[in-house]
């Protein structure tokens, strides 16, 4: 298992309230599993104070823009190594 840093951006960050964290993961799919579990736990905690909170959707690889160490990641099976930094972002636009 590699020790990696995960950073969430865009609506994934606003919805899960997770900005950055260190986790252990072998490959990209593991990252999604861990992040979704963390998000679920965080939601369960916050729901105690605010029952009206909406549960964030699960983040899936096909829905996200993923970068590893600044390079675009196209395969969910890509292996991870110690000290890798993974960015998970949502598509964006503006002006």
């Amino acid at each position: 298992m590699a020790d990696v840093t995960i950073k969430l951006f865009g609506v994934y960050r606003t919805d899960t309230q997770i900005s950055a964290t260190k986790i252990e993961a072998d490959k990209i799919t593991d990252v999604f599993a861990v992040v979704n579990k963390m998000a679920e736990e965080k939601f369960a905690e916050k729901q105690k104070e605010n029952p009206d909170l909406v549960k964030p959707d699960e983040i899936k690889f096909k829905d996200a823009v993923v970068y590893v160490n600044g390079e675009k990641c196209k395969r969910k099976g890509r292996a991870l190594h110690n000290d890798d930094e993974v960015w998970i972002m949502s598509p964006a636009s503006g002006g």
Binding site: M89, S93, G94
Partner: protein
């Protein structure tokens, strides 16, 4: 002057006001239904008016330079995001036409006063406020307002009225001074300086009228569906409301298009500190919206215990990474000061970055250095007031580079500073910046970067297909904004399911094919009859125009109007002296590689321009007479020949 209906078409108010500031008189400007059908409204209407008015040699600060303020047919008709109006004039920054769009209330109120547009000519001897109502136009002394900031000026004017105001920067004719309406601005090209030159401190509009529409029930039903499309689309319904345009900083970093150190690089190590996420988590008090907007992307923050409009993407990028600053609070403060002074945040930031590089290279020291933030607030004010040598910064990077050198890194196109997207990792955007009519504007460019990695992920470094797609987006956005609509409403053209699933096999396949659809797109633009259909979920605009006005309109009409508008403004620029070959970018962007190891990371401009010019029916940036005629743009042949001959002359 009031009373009689002057249009069979509905949606419009049927009248255009013409105000002479020298003589303090007003009259109606002739504008018929044929004109409305040909130009739709907004910037296309203004471009058409200016095309038939400007003459070779006319300059921004001539009395005869007109300020043309135009609304769209959908404004006031109940459509979502329909407050947008346009101000066009000869820009003092670029010496060609600038059309500057704004989401404030003024356009809505102008229609309530009974007018679709107002044109200002002449020059008032003393500072003046022009008040427009249904029955009258009055000229009031603005001596007491002169010197006030944009917010102070608006506060001093009646609350229940549409307002256009300038701040000290406009009064001092900073070449990129802007005009404010509520917290929104007609930002680019120095329209505020033209107001200032004419001593026009403010304009107000008020009335009780409302536009009537052709099919009220159908339009109401469409508007509701349209609002729902906008609120459920991933870009307009999630990213923009939650993070604002500021949410782009992180994706731009990822895609290496975040202009850094005066466009020396596309990534900034400390990007997270100036990101939309940081802004939302640490500073956002609440969202704000233009009137009628269902997206609500604006950020309200606190400065000196006041709730004020917070930074958008452009200033976050250009006063953040582009000047090597990672202090978000400073950017919030500068945004506030720039707004109060009434200047274009993009050009102000571009000028600051250029001055920093001039100092770094030993060419001239204005006291500005990359990473140094403690003196910028004061310098912004000095620029606005043209104090001492800071008056030179008020003239923009092109003029600064002519005096001090550094032309290769004066990041401007046609004299207008570029916005925050580094085009060496989004080459289509680079083509757009160069071919944009008003200068370094990413929106008039066609905003290709939305497809090149932000909303969608088309290959950003290939030149294939970028010319055809740029033309299509340029035309589309021209028409969308001329309806009176916010151009964010055009994002639904990218179906939500594609945007939502960037790694889905289907999405990847479609995006891989995208750059090769160029020839098909070109064919479509020549044979627009093929597009005489409507696809409401993608583009409700032409249907809304039909229901509002009674005109027949479909997707083909949108592209036709857009092509008309883009070519009209281009031809007006040629008349004003723009030379053939003016669609350029600074050498840093076309000759220096962003990644030394990747030969694709500079903008292959000349190659893309060849395809672009062919597809547009232009020769080196000049529309051919044949193309103008085919679009229905009327211009005297002899006059055309004279100005085009001049355009192709050297020097």
């Amino acid at each position: 002057m009031r009373g009689e209906k002057m249009s069979e078409l509905l949606g419009y108010m049927g009248k255009v006001l013409f105000v002479d500031l020298t003589n303090r008189t007003h009259k109606l400007f002739p504008w018929t239904d044929a004109d409305r059908k040909r130009t739709l409204g907004g910037k296309i209407m203004a471009g058409d008016i200016l095309l038939h008015h400007v003459k070779p040699g006319m300059k921004a600060f001539d009395e005869d330079n007109w300020i043309v303020v135009t609304t769209g047919p959908l404004t006031g008709c109940g459509c979502p995001n329909s407050s947008r109006f346009n101000i066009s004039t000869i820009s003092p920054l670029t010496n060609i036409v600038t059309s500057s769009n704004c989401g404030g209330d003024f356009g809505l109120y102008l229609k309530r006063a009974g007018y679709d547009a107002v044109i200002f000519t002449g020059k008032s001897e003393t500072p003046v406020t022009v008040n427009i109502t249904v029955d009258n136009v009055t000229f009031e002394s603005a001596e007491e307002l002169w010197g006030k900031t944009t917010s102070e000026t608006q506060e001093a004017l009646p609350d229940k009225a549409g307002k256009l105001v300038i701040g000290p920067a406009g009064e001092n004719k900073v070449l990129y001074a802007c005009v404010f309406s509520n917290e929104r601005t007609a930002g680019r090209g120095g329209v505020g300086a033209v107001f200032g030159d004419k001593n026009l401190k403010a304009v107000t509009a008020f009335g009780h009228l409302m536009p009537k529409v052709s099919k009220r029930q159908k339009l109401n039903e469409l508007n509701k569906k349209w609002s729902n499309i906008l609120r459920t689309h991933p870009l307009t319904g999630r990213q923009l409301p939650k993070l604002g345009t500021a949410g782009l900083i992180a994706p731009m970093q990822a895609h290496k298009i975040l202009a850094t150190k005066n466009f020396s690089a596309g990534r900034f190590e400390d990007f997270e500190k100036v990101s939309g996420e940081e802004l939302a988590e640490k500073h956002l008090i609440r969202n704000a919206a233009c009137t009628t907007c269902v997206i609500r992307c604006a950020r309200m923050v606190s400065v000196d215990n006041k709730i004020v409009k917070g930074p958008e993407l452009e200033i976050l990028g250009l006063m953040g990474p582009n000047i090597m600053n990672n202090d978000l609070e400073k950017i919030i403060e500068w945004n506030y000061v720039i707004d109060e002074m009434g200047m274009d945040a993009i050009s102000t930031s571009g000028v600051v970055a250029f001055a920093m590089e001039l100092a770094e290279k030993g060419l001239h020291d204005f006291g500005l250095e990359f990473g140094k933030v403690d003196n910028i607030t004061e310098i912004i004010k000095k620029i606005a007031l043209r104090e001492g040598e800071y008056s030179e910064l008020a003239d923009g990077t092109r003029l600064m580079s002519q005096k001090y050198g550094g032309e290769d890194f004066a990041i401007q196109a046609k004299g207008m500073e570029l916005s925050a997207y580094e085009p060496r990792h989004a080459v289509g955007q680079g083509l757009g910046y160069a071919t944009s009519n008003r200068g370094g504007c990413h929106l008039n460019a066609g905003y290709m970067v939305c497809a090149e990695g932000l909303g969608l992920d088309v290959d950003a470094l290939t030149p294939h297909g970028k010319a055809a797609l740029s033309i299509m987006f340029q035309n589309l956005m021209e028409a969308v904004s001329s309806c009176g609509e916010c151009i964010f409403t055009s994002y639904a053209v990218f179906p939500g399911f594609l945007v939502d699933k960037p790694n889905w096999g289907v999405t990847k396949t479609i995006l891989a094919v995208f750059p090769y659809v160029g020839p098909v797109v070109n064919l479509l633009s020549h044979f627009t009859k093929a597009a005489q259909i409507n696809i409401p979920p993608l583009l409700p605009h032409p249907i809304a125009v039909s229901y509002a006005t009674g005109m027949r309109a479909n997707m083909a009409s949108i592209l036709t109007w857009g092509a008309y508008g883009f070519n009209t403004e281009r031809m007006a620029n040629i008349i004003l002296g723009q030379k053939a070959g003016a669609d350029k970018l600074p050498k840093r962007l076309t000759e220096e590689l962003m990644d030394p190891d990747d030969p694709r990371t500079k903008v292959p401009l000349e190659r893309m321009k060849k395809v672009y010019n062919r597809a547009r029916g232009w020769k080196d940036g000049v529309p051919t007479y044949h193309r103008l005629k085919s679009l229905g743009i009327e211009i005297d042949k002899e006059f055309y020949d004279q100005v085009v001959e001049e355009a192709f002359k050297n020097g």
